[in-house]
């Protein structure tokens, strides 16, 4: 088990190195010249060359990459071209909001997914099942910005129940978390439903019922824990993805998360921020998966044995 975990960590490090290399190369070959952008409209060739030298962009490519990597090892992600500030500082400033939205979003989607998934599995092929599955289908296929703008318009602009935009109070998180949750809940509901149906068909469930346990107890104590495994894996993936930023939701609600930072940086071709955010998001995805791998054996004794 421990060796498996060590292996995973080495893999993770390699993945991150690969991500760093690929992003570095991609951004290097982007047809935009950071030096010219910085030097501005009134610059002459000499001034642009000066800036290029200051940024070390006139060094050979491998040396530039080495400088970037050695900076990374010291926790230095470089300085933003546009915002002229440490990339690490900019990212760290956005972590609290990103965390809040990730946690609340996952909470909503898992809660809704479990309730509706179990309902659908238990009432299989009934009206409730069909209604839930239709809703889940709508949720899964709706574009985020449509739901986001709809919720914003109805509950913030028209009804005024929640603030329209921003961050800071619990009221601010409700609509963004609901948007994320409603869309994600569709996936969870479908997964919970099929996992539950699998488990409910098992002999031990019939035995449990036969010995006189209530449905409630059978479902919550016997069936659900066995259906949870894929859900945990999925949560791990979501942690990674949401930590990498949910661009659309963050943009609509003015949520100061990492996705918003990334989106701005891409529009401005602010290379150091794009690199930094890509690395941090990759790290989050890798860690999310590691977390799911670490939790699985706790939930399922069968994995522990392997």
């Amino acid at each position: 088990m421990a060796s498996l975990f060590a292996q995973r960590i080495v893999q993770a490090a390699l993945i991150l190195l690969g991500v760093a290399l690929v992003t570095f190369l991609l951004l290097h070959y982007l047809p935009a010249d950071p030096a010219a952008l910085i030097a501005g409209r009134s610059a002459n060739a000499q001034m642009i060359a000066n800036v290029r030298h200051q940024l070390g962009l006139d060094l050979p490519l491998p040396l530039q990459f080495w400088r970037y990597l050695s900076g990374l090892l010291r926790g230095d992600l470089g300085r933003s071209y546009i915002q002229r500030s440490e990339v690490a500082t900019l990212i760290v400033a956005r972590i609290p909001a990103t965390l809040v939205l990730m946690l609340t979003g996952i909470l909503v989607e898992v809660a809704l997914g479990l309730v509706f998934g179990i309902l659908a599995a238990v009432k299989r092929n009934g009206f409730a099942d069909r209604a839930v599955m239709t809703l889940a289908f709508v949720g899964v296929s709706s574009p985020q910005f449509v739901i986001a703008l709809l919720l914003l318009y109805v509950f913030a602009a028209e009804l005024g129940w929640f603030p329209m935009s921003g961050y800071g109070t619990p009221a601010h998180v409700v609509l963004p978390a609901l948007t994320l949750g409603l869309l994600g809940a569709g996936w969870y509901a479908r997964m919970v439903r099929s996992a539950m149906i699998d488990v409910l068909n098992q002999d031990y469930v019939r035995t449990a019922r036969a010995k006189g346990l209530s449905w409630r107890r059978v479902i919550l104590r016997h069936a659900l824990p066995n259906a949870l495994l894929p859900i945990v894996a999925m949560i791990g993936i979501d942690i990674g993805q949401f930590m990498g930023g949910v661009v659309v939701v963050e943009a609509v609600y003015g949520w100061p998360g990492i996705g918003q930072l990334a989106w701005q940086a891409i529009q401005q071709v602010d290379v150091p921020i794009i690199m930094g955010v890509t690395l941090v998001s990759s790290l989050a995805i890798v860690l999310g998966n590691l977390l799911a791998d670490a939790v699985a054996p706790v939930l399922d004794p069968r994995i522990r044995g392997r």
Partner: protein, 540 residues
């Protein structure tokens, strides 16, 4: 000759106020109150030597002060850090006397050495600022810019309250340059202590100071109680970041926001304009801007002036203006109508498909040709590029559109081999100061025709260059009108003789303000400052 600023400004003010025709019931400014301003993008730096965008320009302007400034909403130069100044008869030496009451917000007095340090800092390549080139007429600027000197020899400080600039050639725009944000006084000790983070913790001697900055969320500005000039009307303002323009407008209509800095999304614009309730929230004003198509004059077949003239006749500018809901005026020439030196008599090339075809035939291109049109990828630019594409197709020119992010379009235009046609929309030229010369050097002069530069037509004509230099040497006030005439003729001649551009339209700027905001439109869309945070006020 000693130039008395007072005479000049009073005269200009008299003209300006008679022209503006302000309504008689113009409300009087109210003191106090704080307002909320929104923007979508994070604030870039507030370092005056670096900041150069729509958002930070007006905030930097309010945080810092410069030797000279403009009267709010106008283009008239008035004293600021400098109480008075003299200009030598040959126009080469400018001597400024500082206001002894000016203090930085850290409590220290502003002295002459601060002015020298600040301008040198703006020019120094280590600062990586975009404004160094503006100071080219000061003796010794070139040495600091290329790294062979550490100071500018042409800026001297005989005592704490005197700054003396020596120019290598008379420069009629020099006072305008000193009014740019890049010329703002910064305290050396704070700059050195903060290093590269000065832009996040700015200390100036302006009307406001920054009290809080939470990246990605908000910036809070408070009135500077020790400001040496008339205090601003507002007690402060709060800038909220990360707000989608559409959401910002909804909030504005609910009264949560006072100024939506990113303007009004096209879909909402018509709705607001047609609504009795919302139309007063729109501020819609012309600015010193021209959006144009550059034609790479060094590339075949565009090296033939007839082809360039044909392009000028082929583009239907009225249709393009309709495409953007009429938020612009079709342009006949390089200079925007507001700009001194605009040639009212020159009509430009009329839309004439037959004549365009005829010119192409004369140039031996009866069967047309193919080319590439670069454009920015944000709305409405791809739609405008498509309209241009259709217009060109009508005269037999097949243009492939490349819609890219702004920095990529700038890179393509500034690459002599890559650039062909470039639609400048979204980054059309906006004058840094109200003078026609600013529309020449970087975008039509030889100096801008460098890799990474902004002269995307790669147009470089020694004859025009010489005429421009001569015009700028006419720096005496009594030469002003003559100088403007010379510039007007240069721009008209460039278009009639060389046609390196297709001037398409002059875009108007739009911001939305809540009903409680008072004051005339020109302090919300100021010709040199964008938003005049010092002048605007809240009625309740």
């Amino acid at each position: 000759m000693t130039k008395r600023w007072l005479k000049a400004t009073t005269a200009a003010l008299a003209i300006a106020s008679s022209l503006a025709g302000l309504p008689a019931h113009a409300d009087t400014p109210v003191q106090g109150g704080t307002i909320v301003v929104t923007y979508k993008d994070d604030m870039a730096t507030l370092d005056p030597a670096i900041g150069y965008d729509w958002q930070n320009w007006s905030m930097i302007n309010g945080l810092f002060s410069r030797l000279v400034d403009y009267t709010f909403g106008t283009t008239d130069i008035v004293p600021s850090l400098a109480k008075s100044w003299t200009i030598s008869p040959d126009g080469l030496v400018y001597t400024f006397k500082l206001d002894p009451n000016a203090k930085f917000t850290n409590g220290r007095k502003v002295v002459a050495a601060d002015v020298k340090f600040s301008i040198e800092r703006a020019v120094n390549p280590k600062t990586q600022g975009p404004g160094g080139g503006f100071y080219h007429s000061i003796v010794g600027q070139d040495k600091l810019a290329d790294g062979s000197a550490t100071t500018i020899s042409g800026i001297e400080t005989p005592d704490d309250t005197t700054v003396k600039f020596t120019l290598s050639q008379p420069d009629a725009t020099f006072l305008n340059v000193l009014a740019l944000n890049f010329s703002s006084a910064v305290p050396k000790e704070v700059v050195e202590a903060e290093g590269a983070d000065f832009g996040k913790k700015p200390v100036g001697s302006g009307a406001f100071k920054l009290t809080e900055w939470v990246p990605g969320q908000r910036l809070v500005f408070e009135r500077n109680k020790d400001y040496f000039r008339d205090r601003p009307n507002l007690d402060g303002f709060r800038v909220e970041i990360g707000q989608e323009p559409l959401v910002a407008i909804l909030r504005l209509q609910k009264g949560e926001v006072d100024i939506a800095g990113d303007g009004i999304p096209p879909a909402k614009y018509l709705e607001m304009k047609n609504s009795a309730d919302a139309k007063d929230m729109i501020v819609d004003r012309a600015q010193f801007e021209t959006s144009y198509i550059t034609i790479n004059t060094t590339k075949k077949p565009f090296d033939d002036v007839r082809v360039r003239q044909a392009l000028n006749m082929a583009v239907n500018k009225d249709r393009i203006v309709r495409l953007i809901n009429g938020r612009a005026t079709p342009a006949s020439q390089v200079l925007p109508p507001l700009m001194p030196g605009y040639d009212k008599a020159y009509q430009g090339y009329a839309y004439d498909v037959a004549k365009a075809k005829q010119l192409l035939t004369e140039a031996g291109l009866k069967d047309g040709f193919t080319t590439t049109l670069y454009a920015m990828n944000t709305d409405p630019n791809p739609r405008i590029a498509q309209a241009i594409q259709q217009d060109l197709a009508a005269v037999g020119i097949k243009a492939e559109i490349k819609a890219l992010a702004q920095p990529e379009v700038i890179a393509a235009g500034g690459n002599k081999d890559q650039s062909e046609l470039t639609w400048s929309g979204g980054m059309g030229w906006i004058a840094d100061f109200p003078d026609p010369s600013d529309f020449y050097g970087p975008i039509l002069g030889c100096g801008g025709a460098v890799t990474g530069g902004w002269n995307w037509s790669w147009y470089c004509d020694k004859g025009f260059e010489e005429r421009g230099t001569k015009a700028d040497a006419m720096s005496k006030p009594d030469q002003k009108d003559e100088r403007l005439k010379v510039w007007a003729q240069i721009f008209t001649d460039i278009q009639t003789q060389a046609a390196p551009w297709v001037p398409v339209f002059n875009e108007r700027r739009v911001v939305a303000k809540s009903k409680r905001m008072g004051g005339p439109d020109e302090i919300y869309i100021d010709p040199t400052r964008v938003i005049d945070y010092e002048a605007i006020y809240a009625k309740q």
